[in-house]
Structures are given as structure tokens and as C-alpha cells.
Point group: C2
Chain length 482, copies 2
């Protein structure tokens, strides 16, 4: 490991520091030690072979086929359900049959929320069903439901203009304009608590999406520990805007909301692990490729995130089948309970953090759709980015992939925060949030050719990184040299 | 009227008969009597003025604004509901206030179906909610629902391969590929009866749409009089395909279906009428502009068909406000119970058919969306098409409108079958069936500028036709001269 540090002390001399402090891989402003650049270039035939086998050879179409069989067989995989655990058992069994190494699961205590039957109806001034999905972790209503007058606002700022007297006992509709998942997502997390503080009876939230065909989008909320927990559900964009307009016109509206939702005692689920064991390093400097196994209980979670699971899984399956075993272990992890605040990944991190500096090298995760790939986003320090950029050159001949510094998060966010390099798939996911957490997240979103390309990109990049003579530098090491 | 006949006996001499027997207006193969062509050309300044006032002048945006207020105020307008009748009362009141002529309603006995609460769940081999909408006129299930094994087929032909023994007591899923509303629509109408003949317990139908985000599409079915009536509902494309794939793999599936749907006694609704009365002919040679007032009980029926109602309504409102009163009456009719097999239009036809030859001239209807307009489809005999083509020339300067022979149907289909010329809006409705009969049929589909253009096109075309010195020839008259 000392050797690695020296190499990068040298490498860093050639790194240009751009205005925002980041070096992007496609700016060509890195100067790697020539021997390392030469070493990386020598992987071109292997990368070509990986792409050939997966995209047009004997593995073509197999990622999609496996994903189809899986989602058809287990359906949606909500944390706490038998079908999630059945899916995990199946993955273990299949990976063993494929001859992958160290196949096992690691337990995690996870939330256990059940939706139950639910509905919402506008009963005054006219009758209209309001298609809805209760938010994850929401409490239910009393058995006879809640029938209450409506207050509708566009923002938390607008809600502040209402007094507790005005809000008490009302159903509050939050209809924030979509400005992206990060910014608008606050409303899903916080609306119930903010409304409860003023005595609201329940919350209905405009679904988090830029486009709708009367489709509600679920997702989890967060209750502040010190507030009364009130039921909260997502309604369609169309209905939220209707209710907002009517409220602003002064129309008195009454909604009946019925939700059987219940939070049961936490239960046991499992992170699922299979490896392509390294021939030199087994349990140190591991390259993790990952996606999450759980989904919401709508659609079949094909895109969120069975796709991420299968490109990670099949990447090591196909590498193994090709007889390619790198120096370092490539570990596929299928996280559980991602949709419940990354509960599976958090347990994994806690249990592996002690050895973190030695155990891990780079974390890959795909959890933003597996549409047509356009490249990879890489997060890491400047030295790491320079190596990554050089590795990326091996891949740029395929489909005009680009490789840039970008944010990675979700289940690997914890590790990135700890200074580990992270890699996320970039793909044509402009419409991802049309389907996200809806009944429309199904195999129909997945394309066999796109999945082949992603699996190839995943396999080739992970292989080269796992086989290099050097580790990808972490911040914890690297910063001491800057 | 004799004069008119003579004119067209002459006009027809110049008509070319194309291979399919149709003359399309944009082929330029008509030779109208020069005086008639000259007369039509003289309307150009009036047409320009109508477009100017509606598209960029004082009426710009008003069609959309009225449509918004209407759909926000009354919501969905299912036949048999108070909100449909309230919407009719409102239209009458508003039209009176606008000073339109002969504002009144004409009663029609109509079907009265209520959806009630409904749900479907796949309970084996895994648990999954199946978003659904019962089909109009469907009977409900027993109070405890129907829990039964599943048979899934793609077509009636495939269903024929199953014996009554195999079908008895099962829930049959029909998952026909979308090949257009006409071809695929058969399944919505006929599946329940076809499955019932073999003893099925219920039918679930793939929704009629080329695109889905987990969205079910309702619509009416037809029960054969001699079969046992079984419940029928539409499920999403995604779920239908999932069930079909699983069935074909041999997976045993069980679905629980609960529908409170009920067919009540027929009730009274009303066709709604307002006129811009002709200064020369009041009750003869009327030009009808129309759309339908009722909708399904999902979304707010903005596109199907409040849009059609409002472009028809506002066309005469704005003509009147501009002081333009044509020779013949332009009658706006907002049909009731279109979604229940054109019940309102059928009653209207029966009650007006006796005088039909004298009473009516041309029927306009907009019921295929009110997206960006691209022109008009015209249905009529060759002589009628030649006049229409000449009138259309007045409009072609706007937005590259084109005017072609096309099919018109829905509420005016009966009159077209009787030999009357018909006009339908052509518009960029490529995505119309994404939203059709769903919770997504709302004001979000409607664009103020597009609506202005349609209202202008509707007003200008109807005005010129209503003001010409000649009637548009009907087949009943015209065929005697061919």
C-alpha cells in the first residue's frame, strides 16, 4: 500500500486543479505516470472481448432474460414481504449454481410497513375518486377513514401563512411544482410532520414526477420524532393541481381518506452477496458492484432496482464464464431495504466499517434506471479521477460513452462519504421519474440491448479496476499528499 | 332547393372520380361553377377577421379559460350523476347570459351505471395489487368478491382453444396487443360475453392504449342478451402482459376481484342546445357544431369531450359577439350519454329525423381530442366535397391546415349514415389514447393556443357554410344526379 501512495504522490504533480476544484475525466488534464497509462492501455483487447461477448456474443440478451424471469417470478419486493425473501433465496441459489464465489447473505434488521387497502375520494363539492398510494412508513387512518375539509398549498412557505386554527382537523394537500427529485423530494419526506405540527388530520401530496397519466407515485416519508403521526399519501399531479386551483378559488372541498397502512415490528432481511474472487487479493481492496433487491409494492421494481441488481450480478457471472479472474475480488452486493432509508446498506457499512480501509477499493452502484447507457459518473479525489479517466478511454469506443465526475449516492453514498471512490451508471433516464415508484415500473422499461451494453460496461470497468497493479486512491490516503 | 340541385348537377361534371371513388379536397380536381368559387373567395376577409379575433384578439385564451372553469367546477360527468346534470344546467345558464338563441335542453332516457368501490389483487403465486377500472355497464361481483384461478389469452382465437371445462369458474384475462382503437376495441365490447359463454366467472382486459404508466382505461362493454352477465374490468397493460406471460409459463395464478358496480334504472338526461340563429333560415338547413357533455367518471373528461363542447360553444359565442350572423342557423349541441353508446344522440336523431331533409345541412363534431389542430376531415358526396374544398382554401393560410376526406363518426355518425355531410376536427392526437378514459384526461392535456385555433377554425368554417347561397348537397339529393 505504501507503494501506491508514492505513485500517486507523483501522479498528483500532473493534475490540474480546475476552478471548481474538480478534474473531469474528459478534459484530458491528467498526467499519469507513463507506465501506469501503458499498463491500462494493455487492457484494450480484454475490454473488447468483454464487450463482444456480452453485447453481440453468447451472452447477448441474457441480462434482460434473467431480469424478466426474476420480475415475473417474484413481482414487487417490498421490504418485509415473503416475496422479497424468496427473491433473495433465489438469487443465492442461482449464484451458487453459476459457480460464483462466497455466495451468502448478511442479515439486517429492517422496517416492516404494510400498505393494506386504501382509497381517497373527493366527496364535496363533487364526487371524484382520487387515485392514491400511501407513503411508506405512513400510519393508517381509523377504520372508518378520515373525512375532512381540505386546505391546499403549493409550498411550505405558503403553508406557513395558515394558522394552527385554520389547519386543525383538515386534510392538507401539498402540490409543489416538480423541480427535480432532490428539491421536490423534501415534500414527500417532510409534509406529514410539518402539517401535523399545526394539527392537520392527514396529508395528500402531489406525486413526485414531471409527467403523469393519472399515476400516483409512492415513496417513503419521515416522521419527526416529536410530532403526532398522521396518515400521508401521494395523489396524482392532475388531482393535486385540481384541488389547489379549487382551494384558491375558495371552493369548499371535503375528502374521505381510508388507509389500512400499518407499521409492524422490524423484521429480518438480508443483503445478498456473490463474488468473483480475486486471484491475488481476496478480502482486501474489493471492488463492489451493486444494486438493490427490494422495491416498492407497485409495478415489479424492474427499473428500481432489479436492473441494477442484474447488471451487477451478470457482470461477474459473464466475467467468470469468460475465464477472467482479476487480481482483486469483484463483489456483487444486492442491498435490501434501500427504499426504507438504505437500511440494508447501513447495516452492511456498520459491520464492515472497521476494516474499511483495507477491505474496499471502489464502489459501483446502478440505481437511476438501466435505460440506454451513456457512460459512467465517477466520484473520487483527483488522483483517482485521473486513473479512472485513463480506464475510461478503453470504453469510449463503444456508443460514445462519456465518463465524467458526477455525484453518486443511494446505497453507496455512505462509502463515498468515507472517502471511497464511487461509480454510478449514467443512462438515458430522462423519463425515469415518469415511472419511479409507480405501477409502471415494470419490465416494459427494460431493453435487452441497453442492458447488454450496461452489463458490458460494468463488467469491463470493474474488471480493469480490479486487476490493475495499483489501487484506486481513496481520499483518506490521498489527502495526506495534496 | 331545386336551384341547388341544378348547380350541383353541373358541378359534378367537373369532378374526377379517383380510384377509390373519393375526391380529396387537396387534390384540386374539382371544378365548381365559377360564380360559387367567386362567392366563396369573398369570405376571405371575414375568415381572417374571425381568426384574428379568436387567435390573437380579444377572445384569445378564452376557450381554454372557460374549459378550465367548467372542468374544475363539475369534475367528471358520468351519465346518471348529479354533476353531469349540474354541468348541463350551467351551460344553459351561461349560454342564456351570453345571449345565444333558443337555448334549451331536450330530454333523453339514458343508462345509469354506478362504479362503486372496486379492486383486484393477484393473491397467488405472489401478492400484487392490480390497478383496475370496471367497464361501463359491467355488473358487480358478489359482496365478498370473486376469488378464482386465472386463464390468460392474447386473442379470441386463442380463447377458442380452451374448453368450457377449462374456463368454468375462472377469471379470464384478455391481453390483446394494441392495434388501434377500432380493432382492439372489440375486446372491450365483447370479451365478457365471449368468456361467459364458457362459464367464466369474470373478465379482466388489457387496457386499450399504446402506452401506459400503470394506468387502467375504462369504457363500456356490451353484453349479449342471451348470456349470463359476468363482471369485467380493465387492468393495466403491464399487469395484463405479466399475467399472460406467467400463464403461458404454466404458473398457477389466483386473483381476487371485488366490484360494487351496479346498473340502476335508466334515468333522464338532456342534450343541450344553443344557437346562433340564421337571419334567413332558422329551422331549415341548420349547421350543427357539437361535442359531448358526458364523460367517464375518471379524470375530468377535459379531452373527452369537454374540449369538443367548448370549441363548439365558443365558436357561436364569438361569432355572435363579432356581430356575424349567417343566413342559416348554427346550432351548438352538447350530446349527453355519448359514452353509453351515443344514447343522447340517438334520441335526438329519432326526434328530429322526420324533418331531417329540411332541418339539417352539415354536422360538425369534435370528439377525438382538441390538441394542436391540423385541419378538418370532411365526409360527404363528391359535390359536397368540392364545395368544402373551396371553403377550406380560405383557411389554409393558417398553420398549414389541410382538409381531406376522412371518416367522421361518434355522435354524428347516424346523420352521416343518413347521407348528411359531416366534419370532424383533425388534430395532433397521436397520444390521445394514452389518456383516453383514464384519470389522466384532465385540463393538463389542453393548450390555450391550440384551443383558440380550433375554435377559430370551427367558427370560420361553420360560418361560411352557414352563410353560403347554396346548401351543401346531401347524398339523398345528390345521388339522383350522378
Amino acid at each position: 500500500m505504501v507503494w501506491v501512495k508514492v505513485v500517486f504522490a507523483i501522479a498528483l504533480c500532473g493534475v490540474l486543479f480546475t476552478a471548481n476544484g474538480l478534474v473531469t475525466a474528459d478534459q484530458g488534464d491528467c498526467e499519469l505516470p507513463p507506465k501506469l497509462a501503458e499498463e491500462i492501455a494493455q487492457y484494450q483487447p480484454i475490454v473488447d472481448s468483454i464487450f463482444q461477448h456480452i453485447v453481440s456474443g453468447e451472452y447477448a440478451g441474457k441480462t434482460w432474460q434473467s431480469l424478466l424471469e426474476f420480475t415475473d417470478r417474484f413481482g414487487p419486493r417490498l421490504t418485509g414481504t415473503k416475496q422479497l425473501e424468496d427473491a433473495i433465496d433465489y438469487a443465492v441459489q442461482e449464484m451458487i449454481e453459476e459457480g460464483l464465489d462466497n455466495v451468502h447473505t448478511e442479515e439486517a434488521i429492517v422496517s416492516h410497513w404494510q400498505r393494506g387497502r386504501e382509497w381517497a375520494v373527493l366527496v364535496e363539492p363533487f364526487q371524484k375518486n382520487l387515485p392514491m398510494l400511501g407513503l411508506g412508513k405512513s400510519v393508517g387512518t381509523p377504520p372508518d377513514g378520515i373525512t375532512a375539509e381540505v386546505i391546499a398549498v403549493e409550498s411550505f412557505e405558503e403553508f406557513e401563512t395558515f394558522t394552527a386554527d385554520q389547519v386543525k382537523g383538515k386534510i392538507v394537500v401539498f402540490a409543489p411544482a416538480w423541480t427535480g427529485y432532490g428539491a421536490t423530494g423534501r415534500y414527500r419526506y417532510e409534509s406529514a410532520s410539518i402539517a401535523a405540527k399545526k394539527g392537520a388530520a392527514a396529508v395528500l401530496l402531489r406525486s413526485m414526477t414531471p409527467f403523469s397519466i393519472g399515476t400516483p407515485h409512492t415513496g417513503t416519508l419521515r416522521y419527526d420524532p416529536d410530532v403526532h403521526r398522521i396518515p400521508a399519501a401521494a395523489i396524482t399531479v392532475e388531482d393535486a393541481m385540481l384541488l389547489l386551483r379549487k382551494f384558491r378559488r375558495g371552493d369548499k372541498m371535503v375528502i374521505q381518506l381510508n388507509m389500512d397502512a400499518i407499521n409492524l415490528e422490524p423484521t429480518v432481511s438480508r443483503n445478498t452477496i456473490g463474488e468473483l474472487e480475486g486471484h491475488t487479493f481476496k478480502n482486501t481492496s474489493v471492488v463492489v458492484v451493486s444494486g438493490h433487491m427490494d422495491s416498492w409494492d407497485v409495478g415489479t421494481g424492474a427499473s428500481d432496482d432489479a436492473g441494477g441488481v442484474f447488471v451487477s450480478w451478470k457482470a461477474i457471472t459473464f466475467l467468470k464464464a469468460m475465464g477472467l479472474r482479476p487480481r482483486r475480488t469483484i463483489r456483487a452486493i444486492y442491498w435490501t431495504a434501500e427504499e426504507q432509508y438504505l437500511e440494508g446498506a447501513s447495516v452492511y457499512e456498520r459491520e464492515h466499517a472497521e476494516d474499511e480501509k483495507e477491505e474496499f477499493n471502489v464502489f459501483f452502484e446502478s440505481d437511476s434506471g438501466t435505460f440506454e447507457p451513456t457512460g459512467l459518473d465517477f466520484s473520487g479525489n483527483r488522483a483517482a479521477q485521473c486513473i479512472f479517466a485513463e480506464v475510461a478511454k478503453l470504453m469510449t469506443g463503444y456508443d460514445d460513452f462519456t465518463f465524467t465526475e458526477g455525484s453518486v449516492s443511494s446505497d453507496i453514498g455512505n462509502w463515498v462519504s468515507r472517502g471511497f471512490p464511487g461509480v454510478s451508471l449514467r443512462n438515458r433516464n430522462e423519463n425515469y421519474f415518469w415511472y419511479h415508484h409507480t405501477e409502471g415500473d415494470t419490465i416494459e422499461l427494460e431493453d435487452p440491448v441497453a442492458l447488454d451494453k450496461i452489463t458490458a460496461l460494468w463488467a469491463a470497468t470493474a474488471y480493469v479496476i480490479a486487476d490493475l497493479s495499483v489501487d484506486i486512491p481513496k481520499n483518506v490516503i490521498d489527502y495526506s499528499y495534496v
